[in-house]
Each structure stands twice: as C-alpha cells, then as structure tokens.
C-alpha cells in the first residue's frame, strides 16, 4: 500500500519538523517570546486596521492611526490613574496601614488558634512571616528594576515596533511564506494556512474580548463592594481569566487576600468570593458563548496538564498560550489530515 506508506512518512516528517520547531523556539526563548506577544497583539488589532482600510485609508495610514489611538488611550489611562496609583502607594507606606496589618494578623492568628487549636498550631508568627515576605518581595522588585530595567525598556520599544510591521506587512509576509511552498502542496498549504489564520485570529480576539469583559465586570463588582484597588484587581482578574481553571481562582483569591489585609472583615471576603462566582457565571453563560468563537474541545485534565507544562517551560506566557497552542495543533492536524485526503498529491 504505497499511498498509506507515503501518508505515514509525511506525518512522520511533519512530527519531526514540529518537534524541531518547538525545540528551536525553546532555545531562542526571549526573542520568540517577544515575537509571540507582538503577533498576538497584531492579531487583536487587525480587524480595527482592516476596518479603517475599508473606509479608504491605505494599510500604512490605517496602522499609524491605530497606533496613535492606542498610545493616546494608554496616555489618557496613565494620566487618570497616576493620582489614584500614587495615593494607593502612599497609603500602603503609612504607619496606619502597617499597624492595621499587624492588628489583622494578630486577630487572624488568635482566631485560627481558637478554632483549629487541635491541629497543634501554636507559634505561627504570622506577622513576622508577613514582614519577611514583604522584605523579600521588596528585594526582588529592586533587583528587577535595577538589573532587568534595560531589558524591560528594550521590550517596551521592541514590541510596538514588531506590532507595527506585523500589522502593516502581515499580509505580504503570509504571501511570501506561501510562495515558498512547492507547487505540489501549494493549494493544500494555502488552504491550511488561511484556515489556521482564521481560527487563531477569531479565538484570540474572542479571548481578548472575554478577558476585557470579565475584568470590567470584576472591577465594577469590587467597586460596589468598596474593595480597595478595585480597578487593579479587576484588571488582574481579567488577565488571569485568560488561563483556564487556574486564572479565575487566582483572580478571586488575590481579591480575597487584599480584602482581608485591608479590612480584616471575613464577611466582606465572603461577598467578594460571591461576586467573583457571579461574574464567572455570567462569563460562562453569556460572555464566552458570544465572544469565544470556538472552544478547543479538550478534556479538562489535558487542559490542566498543558497549563502546568506551559508554565514550567515558558512561565506566565507559557500558561497563557499553552491551551490555544495545543488546541490549534489539534485543529491543524484534524484539518490537515482531512484536507490531505481530499487532495491527490500525484
């Protein structure tokens, strides 16, 4: 059966190329990470640029206008948030805040000893441990800003630069990629590339809209409950929602911890948890079906394993991208095999 043998050989070559590509990406690490972030943001901004193009602007000018819009929005956001941020930082640094934190930890320790004393929890020294942790976090922040500042600035320049050219010349780049494919596989490859592009674009834009909506609802809920740093916590929850299972829990947990540290009111923590549960329900029932075009249809255990592996290999970015990458590899293989069977590679 020569056709079966050829098919198996083709699949083997595809697998070898995919593994080699994955190893190369892992080895190149930082550069690839920047390119992936830039490509993701370019995917999200593409419909806006295309819309401006449909109104008569050239691709270049449409890209310039989108960039001006984003820079203006960021500048406005910074201007509005700056007084809020400085006020919050100052409040963190005052002795009132520090002594209230000490009081909260003392109350918490007493409460735990009373209720869970049978576990033999005596000298937990929560306050000392919290101070130690605060010190370590402070040290890490200083190290980050001093030693990693240069690379941070380089990233802040490199990423917009990459986004601009990916947005402006992305179509030409795709055309160039397709032009290198041999004639025998030309239509098949073009079909596959366009389907992948469409799926990935729809999925990423859907996820972005979903994260934005979740973050907005969470921020509103926290503001209603008068939780401190509601906007930041909402933004964090929105970003964390991009990571399945882990993200929503992390977002809710952080808000609960901040509420405990700020007020010590466990009843309020309960309301915060309830608010997050309701926002998550609204997300699952209303927002996701409208925004996320097609789920990746993977078993929850597989999703969790993929997130853990992605996190270990590439950190936070790995956790964010591991599920869509595996999901789309699955789609590529399924569509690729179906399309391959339709084509006669004579």
């Amino acid at each position: 059966m020569p056709e079966n043998h050829r098919f198996r050989r083709t699949i083997m070559w595809i697998a070898i190329v995919a593994i080699a590509a994955a190893l190369l990406i892992y080895a190149m690490g930082e550069v690839v990470r920047l390119l992936i972030i830039a490509a993701l943001l370019a995917y999200i901004l593409d419909p806006v640029t295309t819309f401006l193009e449909s109104k008569g602007l050239s691709r270049t000018w449409a890209t310039v206008v989108v960039f001006i819009g984003i820079v203006s929005a960021l500048a406005l956001g910074l201007l509005l948030m700056y007084p809020v941020v400085t006020r919050e930082i100052q409040s963190l640094q005052t002795t009132d805040s520090a002594s209230r934190t000490t009081e909260i930890f003392s109350k918490l320790e007493t409460s735990i000893k009373e209720r869970l004393g049978f576990l033999g929890l005596e000298n937990m020294n929560l306050n000392e441990k919290a101070q130690e942790l605060k010190g370590k976090v402070g040290e890490k922040l200083i190290v980050f800003f001093v030693t990693d500042f240069v690379s941070l600035v380089a990233h802040l320049v490199a990423i917009p630069f990459m986004i601009f050219f990916l947005l402006k010349d992305g179509r030409e780049m795709k055309k160039l990629l397709i032009s290198r494919v041999p004639n025998r596989y030309f239509e098949f490859s073009m079909n596959l590339i366009y389907r992948m592009d469409r799926h990935l674009g729809n999925y990423l834009r859907g996820q972005f809209l979903d994260a934005f909506s979740f973050g907005l609802l969470a921020a509103i809920a926290l503001m209603v409950l008068q939780v401190k740093y509601a906007v930041f916590l909402g933004a964090f929850a929105g970003l964390a929602n991009l990571i399945p299972y882990v993200g929503p829990i992390a977002g809710g947990l952080l808000s609960a911890v901040v509420t405990v540290l700020d007020t010590g009111d466990l009843a309020k923590v309960g309301y915060v948890v309830l608010a997050f549960a309701l926002v998550k329900l609204a997300d699952d029932a209303i927002i996701q079906p409208l925004t996320v075009a097609k789920s990746v249809e993977m078993h929850p255990l597989l999703v969790l394993l993929v997130i853990i592996i992605g996190g270990q290999a590439f950190g936070i970015l790995g956790m964010l991208l591991s599920v869509p990458v595996v999901g789309f590899t699955k789609i590529i293989l399924e569509e690729g095999i179906t399309a391959y069977r339709k084509y006669r590679f004579a």
């Binding site: 193009e53 449909s54 270049t60 004639n183 030309f186 073009m190 366009y194 339709k342 084509y343």
Partner: protein
C-alpha cells in the same frame, strides 16, 4: 528618505513586470472596467506560480481554491479518467473561476503544456479584499455572477438546440 521611513511610507511605483500583469488583467472579463488603482490592488493579492512542462496545476476532484490566469505559456484542461483534453488555454486566458465562490471539487485537471507562469487569484484573498475594499470586492463578485449567468444561458441555448435537432431527426 532613509531606510526606516522609506520602508513605512514606500511609494509603490509600478515596474515593467507589474504593468505587463495589469495589461493581462485588463483583458480578463472579471476585471474589465476596473481603474488602474483597483487593478493594482488585485495585482498585489495574486500569487505567481511557475510550472514545468507536464506539471499538474491541480487535479480533478481536488477542493477548488480559486482561478488561474496564464501569464506565459499554455495549459491543458484534461478530463479524467482517460486524460481527454477538453481545452487548451494560452497567455491571457483563465480557468477555475468557479472555485472563487465555493470549494466544490475541480471538474477537471489542469496540466502545464509547456513551461508556464500562472497568476493565482484565490477565494481567501477575495474574501479578504471584500473586508478591506468592499466596493472593489462587490464589483468582482457581481462580474463573476454575471459570467456564470451568461454561461448558464449559453448552456440552456445549446440544450434547446440539441433537443430541437433530436426532435427534427425523430
């Protein structure tokens, strides 16, 4: 202009090769009466492919992706099995245009009769063009519908003629 700004705001003056392609496109019914700017927009999304003698462009039964315009050389449209030559097309002629509308299987194979260059105009690019330039996209789709309508009328006329002849013979 230095390289950085030149790359962003490059002035796209047409080259001799592009002028030749625009001349070929002007003669295609699908693109007749388009302005030079519109033809340039089409030229930018064409895929130039080079085929050697007897190389297959697409096989009968393959999902259709789009049409090909012959820039140079000749192409045979072949029916399988049996390899019966249905038509021979030359420079400036086109084939496969129905695949712009759907991906139903190709009704025949296309094989390069000699070394040839073909310009591919494909469905995904047409849909992208409709998004970016709705006016131009709709113009092309309307012309395509008209071409298919005329072909249908011709088929109906031929069928009527055949029925008439059969009726007269019997």
């Amino acid at each position: 202009m230095n390289t950085f700004w030149g790359n962003i705001f490059r002035n796209r003056a047409t080259t001799t090769e592009e002028e030749k392609i625009l001349d070929i496109l002007r003669k295609i019914p699908l693109f007749e009466d388009l302005t030079k700017k519109e033809l340039s927009a089409i030229e930018r999304i064409l895929h130039k492919r080079m085929y050697q003698t007897n190389e297959t462009i697409f096989n009968q039964g393959d999902p259709g992706m789009g049409m090909y315009i012959i820039e140079r050389g000749a192409v045979e449209i072949v029916s399988e099995p049996g390899k019966r030559t249905l038509a021979e097309l030359h420079e400036g002629e086109f084939f496969g245009e129905l695949a712009l509308l759907d991906d139903s299987p190709r009704s025949a194979s296309a094989v390069a009769k000699n070394d040839c260059t073909a310009l591919g105009f494909f469905q995904p690019d047409l849909f992208g063009l409709i998004d970016r330039n709705p006016t131009l996209g709709v113009k092309i789709v309307v012309r395509l519908a008209r071409m298919i309508g005329e072909r249908l009328k011709k088929c109906n006329d031929q069928l009527e003629q055949t029925d008439l002849v059969k009726a007269q013979e019997s």
